[in-house]
Amino acid sequence: MNVQTLPVPYPQACATLEEACADAPRAFAATLRFALSRLGNDSRPSMFCTLQRHQYEHGRLFGRGVEAGGSLLVVEPRKPIEVLWAAEQALRSGAVAGVVAVVDQVTLTQTRRLDLAAREGGASALLLHIREGGLSAARRRWRVGSLPSAPNPFDQRAPGAFRIRAELVRSRAEPLSMWMLEQDGETHRFRLADRLADRGLVENGRPAEAA
């Protein structure tokens, strides 16, 4: 982790193909939330694609907890190859704003296909790796972990706004960095809790310069 002297802006817009991986299996929920919130925010629906059997391991996506604004299409094939097929079909059709696909072990060719399909359909794709993948055509690779939540202003003993740590571990366009993101309780979007994680947090959760 290199110390940044200037705060690096958080890349809000999602590239055509990005990847995210949880830093520990327990952070899967945080990674999924992060992935869904990075998808484009237009009037088209989003799509979530995962293997049917994953719901026993990780739990099933619960729409009430997502409230992504637009509608969400959930595709649950039986075979890993069908996850990639469904994601590619959806991206190429241009009917969805973005696809979050849970994958395990994809090849460079497969990711290139997804990248091209996403560009063709004007959509963005986020691959959720179960394990850290190898070579890929993704523009950015994130590593996501969960952090203790913000202090709750109304109850010291209760969890406050959810916080996650998003680390950019590979990118073609910008310098690598790390951000602390906080979920807004009402809009369910992430906002920057701390622009410069390296400098630490002040007590009220605002960036160090502003304090």
């Binding site: 907890g65 959930v74 595709v75 094939p77 097929w85 209760a158």
Partner: protein, 508 residues
């Protein structure tokens, strides 16, 4: 009709007497016989012991009535290659059969004689013996097929009275009691009834079982209508291709499919309708039907979309067996297609258009199955696992039914059913201090709750076995946030079931 499952068993020669037996009130009795057994003097309903005494070398096998009924339905589907309306004749005691409504169909097979010939030939090559008749009414056809002696007979409307006159009264599909009474009166042939006064007949043979004599006579003579209930709703739009030689490989099916689709599309376009579900049926020469069905969210008439969906579904799933000789593409459900004006592109960059989404959903559903492509739809219930339903996307994207949004925090991932955990709380009705989930002990750093959800008392008792739940949002020392609940209350429930802890979801 003798049914026997020949698969996996050596086929018996024709001249060995065979009987299917079933349990009756007085021991085993014969349910069905083959021709050889009948020729040796056995009859239906005879006790099995008596039959064995008469004929020691009788081969018998247990009857399987359920399988027989299924086989008849499959055969009825296969008969849809001749007529769109095929009904199962529900006559009891082994007199089951099939009714084919051939009105306006026979000219396709070279008239009624040609149709009978074709039927006999195809059934014969599928290994099924038949007795059939073509008549202006279902009742007359039933009587002729079973009682006229020939294996294929025909009757015109003008000849119907004299044609039936010589047949026995049993040919009118009557109940046992009515037949006995008729024998008492000395009424033997249908012709005997023509001269009788109708009021007297109706009074004497008042039906106890709905199979009243006068009504059956009128039905056979065509004086009153007899509705046939088809096994499947007859399709109005269907394109059929029959081959001189059976098609034995998928390339042949693939080659004929565009032709069928184009024919069907033309017919639908003429009526300004679109297909919302399609079925491709291959009629195999051995008396079976293989099929594929696809559904469309928005009714379409574009043949290329149909073909794409059918290929997505997988033509290779069709088991062609020894070849199919008829291929039919039918639009099971059609809807009027209105000309829709696409919305103006108001927002720059937005490509909102219902059509690409519905096409995508159709394609995904064709390949992955309807229930693999879903949308979460809110449902009015406080119980978390019931507050949302996964509706197949083909239905969900057209509907607008949405429940109220919930302001309470809900997890992003849910375990359904909830997973049991072991929890330790400082107070019996307080938040847990530590808990073990999936064999990993976790210490609670922060907790909020309870959110108390009462069971749905309006559900019938056998459905709802739930107890009151107290939900807690809990965060452990690693910053992972869980949604736990305690089922049951201390000191309020019956002492048999202690409250238990469950893991129900994960927050980001």
């Amino acid at each position: 009709m003798v049914w026997s499952r020949t698969a996996g068993r050596p086929k018996l020669p024709e001249d060995v007497p065979l009987a299917l037996i079933e349990k009756g009130p007085h021991g085993l009795r014969l349910r069905a016989l083959n021709a050889a057994a009948r020729a040796r003097g056995l009859r239906r309903g005879q006790a099995h012991a008596d039959a064995r005494a008469v004929l020691p070398d009788l081969v018998s096998a247990p009857a399987e009535p359920n399988w027989e009924a299924q086989a008849l339905v499959r055969l009825a589907h296969w008969c849809e290659r001749w007529s769109p309306t095929v009904a199962i004749d529900p006559s009891p005691d082994g007199l089951e059969g099939l009714f084919l409504d051939v009105t306006g169909v026979d000219h396709l097979f070279g008239g009624e004689a040609g149709l009978l010939e074709d039927l006999r030939e195809r059934f014969g090559s599928a290994g099924i013996g038949t007795q059939m008749a073509v008549a202006p009414t279902a009742g007359a056809a039933w009587a002729l097929a079973r009682w006229s002696g020939g294996c294929a007979s025909r009757l015109e409307l003008e000849q119907i009275r004299e044609g039936l006159a010589s047949l026995p009264i049993a040919a009118l599909r009557l109940g046992e009691e009515t037949l006995r009474l008729a024998r008492l009166f000395g009424l033997r042939r249908i012709g005997d009834l023509y001269g009788m006064p109708r009021t007297g007949l109706a009074r004497r043979f008042r039906a106890t079982d709905g199979q009243d004599l006068v009504r059956r006579l009128d039905q056979a003579l065509g004086l009153i209508e007899e509705p046939l209930v088809p096994v499947r709703p007859p399709v109005r739009y269907r394109a059929v291709e029959s081959f001189a030689e059976p098609v034995i490989d998928l390339a042949g099916v693939e080659a004929y499919l565009p032709l069928l689709a184009a024919t069907l599309a033309t017919r639908l376009q003429q009526d300004a309708r679109g297909a919302s579900s399609l079925r491709l049926d291959g009629f195999r020469s051995d008396g079976a039907v293989v099929g594929l069905a696809v559904r469309m969210t928005v009714p379409t008439v574009q043949a290329e979309i149909w073909l794409r969906l059918l290929r997505e579904k997988g033509l290779e799933r069709l088991d062609l067996g020894f070849g199919i000789d008829v291929l039919a593409l039918s639009a099971d459900r059609t809807e009027p297609t209105d000309l829709v004006q696409p919305p103006l592109e108001l927002e720059a960059g937005s490509r909102r258009d219902a059509r690409p989404l519905s096409e995508l959903v159709d394609r995904l559903a064709a390949r992955l199955g309807e229930h693999a492509v879903t949308m979460p739809v809110r449902y009015e219930s406080w119980l978390p696992e019931r507050s949302e339903r996964r509706v197949p996307a083909q239905r969900a994207i057209l509907g607008t039914a949405m429940g109220r949004p919930l302001v309470r925090p809900r997890p992003i991932l849910m375990f359904d059913p909830p997973e049991p955990i072991e929890a330790l709380a400082e107070l019996p009705d307080g938040a847990p201090a530590r808990f073990t989930w999936r064999r990993v002990p976790r210490r609670v750093a922060r907790a909020e709750g309870p959110e108390r959800l009462a069971p749905e008392w309006w559900q019938p008792a056998h459905v709802q076995r739930d107890r009151t739940r107290d939900y807690y949002r809990v965060e452990d020392e690693d910053g992972v946030r869980y949604w736990l609940f305690r089922e049951g209350l201390y000191g309020q429930d019956d002492g048999k079931r202690l409250p238990s802890w469950w893991m129900h979801g994960l927050f980001p």
